[in-house]
Symmetry: C2
Subunit: 366 residues, 2 copies
């Protein structure tokens, strides 16, 4: 069993993008925790005396679904804790707790993604077939997703035991989970499946609601709030400040994601964007709908969400006419100024925790 | 909004089976909490400023999926708390907490059932179409199931707030949830979908593992353990004793369920059993496989899991030849003696909490 995990961890190592030695060590340390968490899961299955078939299925699900992403969310917890402590050394114990939370976020994401792929009937995820499409999986993937989520709280029990912050941590994870599910609900039901797109629903308001709940809370606020909890922060005001800044960063991050889907270099981002073909409610089309004249809106209605090369080119040409690229660049600059203003304005948290996070995403190319 | 809940509650009231005035009041009190919990959920959606479409979808999911069962599990929490207290009066506050836990179990079951129906591709549930089969739902039902589960912890936060037992309660619910998911995994992967039944896997051992984790923990141990937590019990030994007795009752309950599926009166149980047609790994077929000769096993292999009337009759005839009915009745009597022995043997909990529960299921006809 450990054999497998060792191989998985090593096979991912060459993909690590290194910036400096500190982050090498942080990523190594983070990766080394993965087999320990898998062992906690498998020990639980052993305790229940699950038959070998089921243990094999579970083990396969864990290594297939949790690993393979960029792990930015997971790594942010320990990094954030270090920012909070400033020059003071963070204890080994606290780093482990931070990484357990970090993996909890990665596990939570795996839970969302396994289920999202079924709901969207997607074909591939992270360059390999979606879990539910594998032989011997199918709809069992729904229950596998449940198990991924439930294991998070098992990890907290094992690693946090009687830690005074465990309840706060559980409350945080559960609340963010519910918010993400509410965001997913909004995303899934904004359009009616199988019916033509109702363009009146692609508003900036709806876009922002979906991004806030479906992405920003678990991707930005959750890791930062975990750092704060492990760092011993209890002030409600501090959590509110962090929430506000993290949600602003999350929105900026998703808008970048939408921009890169259309304008990014596929070689660099690692995939070919298909938001236009898929008819996604992305920031670009919302901007275009707000700025186009009668004829432009007609062009969108005719060509957006159509899976052919010519239609994609028509939409890209309309984006060019409407200066969407420039509008994004102006937005990005204004957004950077605004987030920095929010960071400077507050006095309850060290600026570094936000500044470091913003530096990682500002003007990102991938 | 409250209008809807009031209608739902009233429309279910005529189905209540009443034994005495105490249980009438208990059931009324329990039902009256339902609209309050729905309001907590809808207030949360309002707080998030979810668009009206999504609020409507959520509200529809709650009233469709949580209500409509017998609510035995939910009602057991307050009943158990009363048994624990003996002649002492249980405070109104504690009854509300017990009912919140009881609804938590009903909500948890709704989460499991909505997902189970998708995984089993079922058509009806509780006499109406499965949720995922409704217009405008489909695979969104997966996320609706997630939301049903997540709301449980929202209720605990609202009603238990700083109650000293909240963490214990969360740990209990999460552990039982994970066990149920492990049971579901075992059930789903014992046979390979679309392949002929592998009869060597229909063993009593596998049957017991599935029943224990998929049914007994959440149906018997969970309500009793909730009563104990609200009753202020902290002794680990007491929880272990309760677990052992509740698991024995859960196994007995499921074996009854399997028996009634074949031998019960459809008028009384409210549905026509289809375990034989469905090829279910039920207690009867496991017993038959263990007792049949070469020819009998061949009969099972040919006719079990086949959706035609003649095959069902062939299997029922084999059951009759093997005296399966008598074997069940002997099992039932022995089981009753054994569970009572377990109840008498222990000194840590009032016998009433188990005796009352056992009385509700012993020799049940539905
Ligand atoms: Mg998707
Ligand atoms: Mg999706
Ligand atoms: Mg994208
Ligand atoms: Mg089913
Ligand atoms: Mg099932
Ligand atoms: Mg049955």
């Amino acid at each position: 069993m450990n054999q497998l995990y060792r191989i998985r961890v090593e096979s991912h190592a060459p993909n690590i993008q290194l910036h400096d030695m500190a982050s090498v060590n942080a990523k190594d340390r983070f990766l080394q925790l993965f087999p320990r968490l898998c062992k906690v899961a498998m020990d639980y299955a052993d305790e229940l005396k699950l038959p070998q078939r089921q243990r094999d299925h579970l083990e396969r699900s864990l290594s297939y679904n949790v690993m393979g992403g960029k792990m930015n969310r997971g790594l942010t917890v320990a990094a954030g804790l270090q920012s909070l402590r400033g020059d003071a050394v963070v204890s080994e114990e606290d780093l482990v707790l931070a990484d357990v939370c970090g993996w909890g976020i990665e596990w939570l994401q795996a839970f969302f993604l396994v289920a999202d792929d079924i709901m969207d009937q997607s074909v591939t995820r992270r360059g390999q077939p979606c879990w539910y499409r594998l032989e011997g999986v199918g709809n069992v993937a729904i229950n596998d997703a449940f198990i991924l989520e439930a294991l998070i709280y098992r990890f907290f029990r094992v690693f946090f035991k009687d830690h005074p912050a465990r309840l706060h941590l559980i409350d945080l994870f559960q609340d963010v989970t519910l918010k993400t599910e509410m965001g997913q609900l909004t995303d899934l039901t904004t359009q009616v499946l199988g019916q033509p797109i109702d363009w009146s629903r692609y508003t900036l308001d709806t876009y922002k609601t979906i991004v806030k709940y479906k992405t920003s809370y678990y991707s930005f606020y959750l890791p930062v709030a975990c750092s704060m909890i492990i760092g011993g922060i209890t002030s409600e005001e501090a959590f509110e400040v962090a929430e506000k800044i993290c949600l602003a960063m999350g929105e900026y991050f998703q808008i970048q994601d939408d921009f890169l889907d259309c304008y990014g270099d596929p070689e660099v981002i690692g995939k070919i964007g298909t938001d236009i073909e898929d008819g996604k409610c992305c920031w670009l089309v919302v901007q275009a709908l707000n700025r186009a004249d009668e004829a432009g809106i007609q062009t969108i209605k005719t060509h957006y969400g159509t899976n052919n090369h010519e239609s994609v080119e028509v939409i890209k040409k309309l984006y060019a006419e409407l200066n969407i690229k420039k509008i994004f660049e102006d937005y990005e600059d204004a957004c950077y100024v605004e987030i920095n203003r929010m960071i400077d304005e507050q006095q309850v948290l060290p600026k570094a925790i936000f500044v470091d996070l913003l530096a990682k995403i500002f003007k990102r190319q991938k």
